[in-house]
């Protein structure tokens, strides 16, 4: 029993020893296989491990038929760091790019590439197996695929050191410029350099060199929106080359529906016709000065706005230009060029436009009753410059003709009952003016000899011109205390009584000019009474004569 029991103990003991030994061996083995070499035992062997056995750190070179040499060695660190390296989402193996596989199995078959570029081109052809998004790439390059000078994938992206796409996106222009470095024409090179340097955040070479050919207009806009420099004319004047395409779109020349007719935005070459014909680079501009250019550009406006242009030709500005005063306003001076807006919206704009050149007059106008109402209240009734002076066919305001017809100009509003009622202004002003000595003469001159000067006062001789104030204003030229001075402008000997000889635009009444009223009333009664009395007496005399004739006749017949 004891022997049996001791035998079982020995077996258990031995088992324990064996178990411990097995554990020791296992640990020892584990420690042994924990070396890298031992891992190969646990994982599948990568398909290019064989390639790397030879090519990593190889210093051999291969000489191609062209005489060019190719390094057989590769830098594993560079490869691992590349976008195809160990961190790639999907592993890329040597034979994924170096195909066909049969050629690259060891011993390698002879490579048919005769030169380095042929070698690279063949490899580049394999990129498409994975990278099918060809359209992301420059269309010019793709379209010119068969041209031997066109870069292939490897030319731009590199080989074993292929960089992530983000690296190209970060500097797309630089990528292009690795090849495209020089432009032969220095003028184009200069313009191009400025455009490139002004490229915006989302702009690349492809903004201009896009996949689909650009329209003429887009071509103009792309360059000129990026150009900030100026063109220098022979005189030394400069022309700003920057154009904001949005200016045109939001201008009167943008999309418009006018009288039910839909108009599309004007194209650059609709106005800049010659530039359109010439394309780029542009021909030199004829104009010697900036002013010449502005004046010449009027012809462009004429093409569409014929009527307005013709009327403008009769105007004082155009006449001055013809006479050689080049400061006179042209289309562009008033309307602008690319960002033309509705010229009288708001109405204030007109005053500002004229004020650009006629600043002192505009200043006076701003202080007048008309100007203050326009600028302060946006009053729609007060005259703006163009209401009195006209728009395109602006007449010379210094002529006798303008002066003589001016009362009608004022009368257009001041004799308008409906309009004047709004402001409590009498509409008798025009009639009372014409009824008086000054107005009678001026009206007759206007009708009969409009080109002859008359020294009789017109509205603005007394009331002021651009600085016109309400007759009740203490600074008004026509308020009672200032009237004598105003009269003395023409009547230097006038005394204190003299201004009262003017009826102040009042129709005679008991309140205003009673003496005149009673004289009128006197004759209103005396004339019909006298003449009526005469006529009655004459009637009675005719009655007598007729009666006597009848009596004579009846007497004669009686006598017979």
């Amino acid at each position: 029993m004891d022997q049996c029991r001791s035998t079982r103990v020995i077996i258990i003991y031995a088992y324990r020893v064996l178990l411990i030994a097995a554990c020791g061996i296992a640990v020892g083995l584990a420690l042994f296989v924990s070396r890298p070499a031992a891992a190969q035992v646990l994982q599948p062997v990568p398909p290019d491990s064989a390639c790397k056995l030879c090519h990593i750190d190889s210093t051999e070179t291969i000489t191609l038929t062209s005489g060019e040499t190719l390094n057989a060695g590769i830098d594993p660190v560079q490869l691992d760091d590349s976008v195809h390296g160990v961190h790639a989402a999907a592993p890329v193996f040597c034979t994924d790019c170096h195909r066909p596989q049969q050629r690259y199995q060891y011993p390698h078959q002879a490579n048919p590439a005769e030169s380095l570029s042929e070698f690279e081109a063949e490899i580049a052809g394999n990129c498409q197996q994975c990278h099918t998004t060809e359209e992301l790439h420059n269309p010019g390059h793709l379209q010119a695929k068969d041209n031997p000078n066109v870069p292939n994938c490897v030319d731009c992206h590199g080989g074993h050191d292929v960089a992530p796409a983000a690296a190209f996106e970060a500097d797309p222009v630089g990528t292009c410029q690795t090849c495209h470095q020089e432009i032969a024409d220095p003028h184009i090179a200069e313009v191009h350099a400025e455009i490139v340097s002004n490229l915006g955040p989302n702009q690349t070479c492809q903004t201009c060199h896009a996949s689909t050919p650009q329209s003429e207009d887009a071509k103009c806009q792309t360059c000129h929106s990026l150009l900030n420099s100026a063109l220098t004319l022979p005189s030394g004047d400069t022309v700003d080359l920057h154009v904001n395409p949005a200016d045109l779109v939001t201008s009167m020349h943008g999309e418009q529906v006018i009288n039910g007719q839909q108009y599309t935005t004007l194209r650059c070459t609709d106005c800049h016709k010659e530039q359109g014909l010439w394309g780029f680079p542009h021909q030199p501009i004829d104009a010697q000065t900036r002013r010449d250019l502005t004046i010449n550009m009027q012809a462009v406006c004429q093409d569409c706005h014929t009527d307005i242009f013709d009327r403008n030709a009769d105007g004082i500005h155009a006449q001055h230009i013809v006479e050689g005063n080049l400061e006179a306003a042209t289309c562009e001076d008033c309307h602008g060029n690319h960002a033309i807006q509705n010229p009288d919206e708001p109405r204030e704009r007109v005053s500002q436009t004229c004020g650009n050149c006629h600043s002192t007059i505009n200043e006076q106008y701003g202080g007048s009753v008309h100007g203050a109402a326009l600028l302060g209240e946006d009053n729609p009734d007060v005259p703006i410059c163009t209401d009195c002076h006209g728009v395109h066919n602006i007449p010379d305001p210094t002529t006798a003709e303008f002066r003589l017809s001016s009362p009608y100009m004022c009368g257009r509003c001041h004799a308008d009952q409906e309009l004047m009622d709004k402001y409590g202004i009498s509409t008798d002003v025009f009639d009372t003016y014409v009824a008086d000595f000054h107005g009678t003469t001026v009206t007759l001159f206007d009708h009969q000899s409009p080109h002859e000067e008359s020294n009789k006062a017109v509205c603005y001789d007394c009331h002021g011109v651009h600085n016109i104030l309400p007759a009740s204003d203490e600074n008004s030229q026509v308020i009672k205390q200032n009237l004598l001075v105003t009269c003395q402008q023409c009547h230097p000997d006038a005394n204190d009584n003299f201004p009262n000889s003017w009826t102040s635009h009042f129709k005679p009444s008991i309140e205003h000019n009673p003496l005149v009223y009673f004289v009128d009333l006197f004759y209103l009664i005396v004339i019909p009474a006298t003449v009526g009395g005469f006529l009655l007496f004459i009637g009675s005399d005719i009655f007598r004569q007729v009666r006597e004739r009848f009596q004579r006749k009846s007497k004669e017949s009686h006598d017979e």
Binding site: I340, N356, T360, Q448, A494, V516, S540
Partner: protein, 288 residues
């Protein structure tokens, strides 16, 4: 005065010349004046244009006015001579008899009264006309002076007299023209053409009808005797130098009337300002 052919001497050559001057000046004043009063009428504008424009019309009007004033002055000179030197009876003075004659003429015309009034050298109708001319000329000369010389006038009259003068000048003109066309034209042209102001003689028939009383006096030889030659000569000696002085004063006065003032020397002096004064710094071209 009477003769066998039944014609009676009525107006001497000086009176007829006066009348001719009056016709001339009055007609010219009407032709140049009425278009000014009604200048807004197309016919008036046409007349003004035909006469060479408003400024020419004004000059003609003033020239005719000077003629009328001169004629009036002469008339008063002659009148003074007749009254103070020749001591003629004042046949043109209105009297109560004229009013009675007028009423009788009217009632006779209407057939209410049997007989026509028997009237003297100047009947009521002629007196009305004469005094109307006197009154009218006075009004026109005074108001005309005010219009011609408004500044001088306002030195001694309120300003309102100028437009009032204009109203009176126009009203009186219209009254005169209408009176001439009705009263004068009817009485001496239409009723029967009275040639005495042109020939100097009046027919017996007209005398009988218009101046029955005067005719009777002529026929009866009851005319007042002419002044005594001695007295006449003495008075003439006083009158002539006095008249010469008066004439001189009149001429000088008339000259002053014409050249009294230069109302409007000039028009408002032209202001020469630089109209091209661009804003500095130049604003952006409108809309860039």
């Amino acid at each position: 005065m009477s003769n066998s052919t039944g014609k009676y001497w009525r107006f001497d050559v000086f009176q007829r010349v006066e009348h001719a001057l009056l016709i001339t000046s009055f007609t010219v004043l009407v032709i140049t004046g009425l278009p000014q009063k009604f200048s807004s009428q197309p016919w008036a504008e046409f007349m003004i244009m035909a006469m060479g424009g408003i400024e020419v019309v004004r000059i003609i009007h003033r020239a005719a006015a000077v003629l009328l004033i001169a004629e009036t002055m002469y008339h008063f000179g002659v009148l003074t001579y007749k009254v103070f030197v020749k001591r003629v009876s004042l046949t043109m003075l209105p009297s109560m008899q004229d009013a009675k004659d007028g009423i009788q003429a009217l009632t006779y015309n209407l057939g209410v009264t049997k007989g026509a009034p028997r009237m003297g050298r100047y009947n009521f109708g002629e007196k009305v006309e004469y005094w109307a001319v006197i009154w009218g000329t006075l009004v026109m000369v005074i108001t005309g002076f005010a219009l011609w010389n408004p500044i001088a006038t306002t030195y001694f009259l309120p300003g309102q007299f100028i437009p009032a003068a204009k109203a009176a000048h126009g009203g009186e003109a219209l009254l005169a023209v209408l009176s001439i066309i009705t009263w004068h034209f009817y009485n001496v042209h239409l009723k029967q053409f009275n040639r005495s102001m042109f020939t100097g003689y009046i027919s017996h028939h007209e005398m009988a009808e218009e101046h029955a009383l005067e005719l009777e006096q002529i026929q009866k030889g009851q005319l007042p005797p002419p002044a005594h030659p001695d007295g006449l000569r003495r008075r003439q000696r006083i009158f002539v130098p006095l008249a010469a002085v008066m004439a001189l004063i009149t001429i000088v006065g008339l000259y002053f009337f014409i050249t009294f003032e230069q109302t409007a020397i000039t028009t408002v002096p032209r202001q020469t300002t630089d109209i091209y004064v661009p804003l500095t710094p130049a604003p952006d071209a409108p809309g860039g």
